[in-house]
Amino acid sequence: MNTLLEVKDLNVSFQGNENENKTGNKSENKNETVTAVSCLSISIREKETLALVGETGCGKSVVAHAIMRLLPPESIVKGTIEFKGKNLLKLSEKEMAKLRGKEISIIFQNPSLALNPVYSIGHQLAEPLRIHTQKMRWKEKEGKKEKVKQKEKREKKKENSNLSKVSRALKRVGFSNPREYMGYYPSWCSGGMNQRFLIAASTMLDPVLLIADEPSKGLDRDRVSELENELKGLKEKSETSLLLISHDLGFVRRLADRVAVMYAGEIVEIADPSSLFESPLHPYTRGLLNSLPERGFVPIPGASPPLSNPPAGCRFHPRCPIKEKRCTQERPELKESNGRAVRCFLCP
């Protein structure tokens, strides 16, 4: 299978801005640079589901936003993100806008906030269709009166076809009478419904790569299993690759083809789900799995380090139960063997 997306040595950092200095703790925030992601390399093949797991604040969402080029302007992004052979970081905003929604699409976390409260669902779902077909309309020459009538007719037709496309998309995510739901507003609907609207919107144009950023967050169990079926169906029906970002390990295990574990802005382990969940190598992965309910909620001692000031050497060493002297001084590299990769001196 061909590689669809290749991220190489991605570094994302944010500079503490002046506004923050005024309100925040002056001595602490001065020139504070937060390196949210450091030296991250991942690749996604066609039709593959890669999951990115890790604690809140470890930089998972930053990776997603870097791929979509949605980070705020004050962020410093280094490295390469190659999508179908093109470096996304070098594209102009206009070229990027053409890709967004059509080739690469994202489902944001917190569905109720990602939808606009003042537009109806139907209007918002038709947005990708409107934006990515607008170009055709620009090309049409205006002026001649007979043509204006024809144009109006054509536009009406297009609107109708848009509507039927939207209703088809809604049907695909499990709404039996889509015409009714198209008139709804986000505040009328539950979180699970809004989540499905978002999935419908982001898969409207059959993107090659879909990024799902914490899609299961805040949904209760029934909704999560519905969502799981949704994403499974999507993978089977279309040829979409999926970058699944989540901290819900059970959800990841059932969906992913490969899992990358992140800790404090770095990838610490990459493996296929069965070997990762059955024989985790990195001490952090082991700790993470031990804190699962089925393994008796054994917590990892301590807390993850601040990204503005990560510890020297291995970033996990202050919490690691098996650390050696070397771990506190040298930074381990990501070692690959037998299709697995792990960032630890002490792992085979």
Partner: protein, 229 residues
């Protein structure tokens, strides 16, 4: 010494316009100090509403709550104030529980000011509380946005502990947190319970969490409460 709920019912939207929607009917149970009672059920079944009624934040449509053998409705003002202090509630999202524009120190000391604690005593108790919840003193100078969800949830619990509660209603205390942090918070809750003998009403949709924490479990479904040990 227990907190008893008798035949609680709650109906929303009942008034001149219509009959309203009955959320639950005839719910009775008892909370003992030092023990945890789990409350499960699908979302929208009124788990949180029941929790809020127990904590005195909402009033039931019918039924009574007995705190230390006296019914809530017949309480004098001072008695009711004690009840509100002794029965506390911890919410799902810790970021919403703190004022984003104030330092943590302010949000914490607000509670002690309310109890008319003198300055030196305030500092001592805050330090003691931080030790219990396992956070360094530096966090006091921070803003809520500078702390992680796990740290904030610890602080939310710490702020409650300053009031020396006898019962805490935990409304999905870990569902906004990561698995690793969830385990830490659950262990902390158990530790605090063992030390101070607080009774918990744990509301959660996660069966594993409820099983880990509590001996007694209730299931709220279709407006009825089923209790099993």
């Amino acid at each position: 010494m227990s907190l008893k709920a008798e035949n609680l019912s709650k109906t929303y939207g009942s008034g001149l316009l219509g009959k309203g929607k009955c959320i639950f009917r005839d719910v009775s149970f008892e909370l003992e100090p030092g023990q945890t009672c789990g409350l499960m059920g699908p979302s929208g079944e009124g788990k949180s509403t029941l929790g809020r009624i127990i904590a005195g934040l909402e009033s039931p449509t019918a039924g009574t709550i007995h705190f230390k053998d006296s019914p809530l409705s017949g309480m004098k003002k001072a008695e009711y104030a004690t009840f509100r202090r002794r029965v506390q509630m911890m919410f799902q999202d810790p970021t919403d529980a703190f004022n984003p524009r104030k330092r943590i120190e302010h949000s914490i000391s607000e509670v002690l000011k309310l109890l008319d604690t003198p300055g030196t005593e305030r500092i001592r108790r805050t330090k003691e509380m931080l030790k219990t919840i396992g956070l360094p003193e530096e966090v006091l100078a921070r803003y809520p946005a500078q702390l992680s969800g796990g740290q904030l949830q610890r602080l939310a619990l710490g702020r409650i502990l300053l009031l020396e509660p006898e019962y805490i209603v935990l409304d999905e205390p870990t569902s906004a947190l990561d698995v690793s942090v969830q385990a830490q918070i659950l262990h902390l809750l158990k530790k605090v319970q063992a030390e101070q003998g607080i009774g918990y009403l744990l509301i959660s949709h996660d069966e594993a969490v409820v099983r880990f924490m509590s001996g007694k479990m209730g299931m709220l479904e279709n407006g009825k409460l089923k209790v099993f040990e």
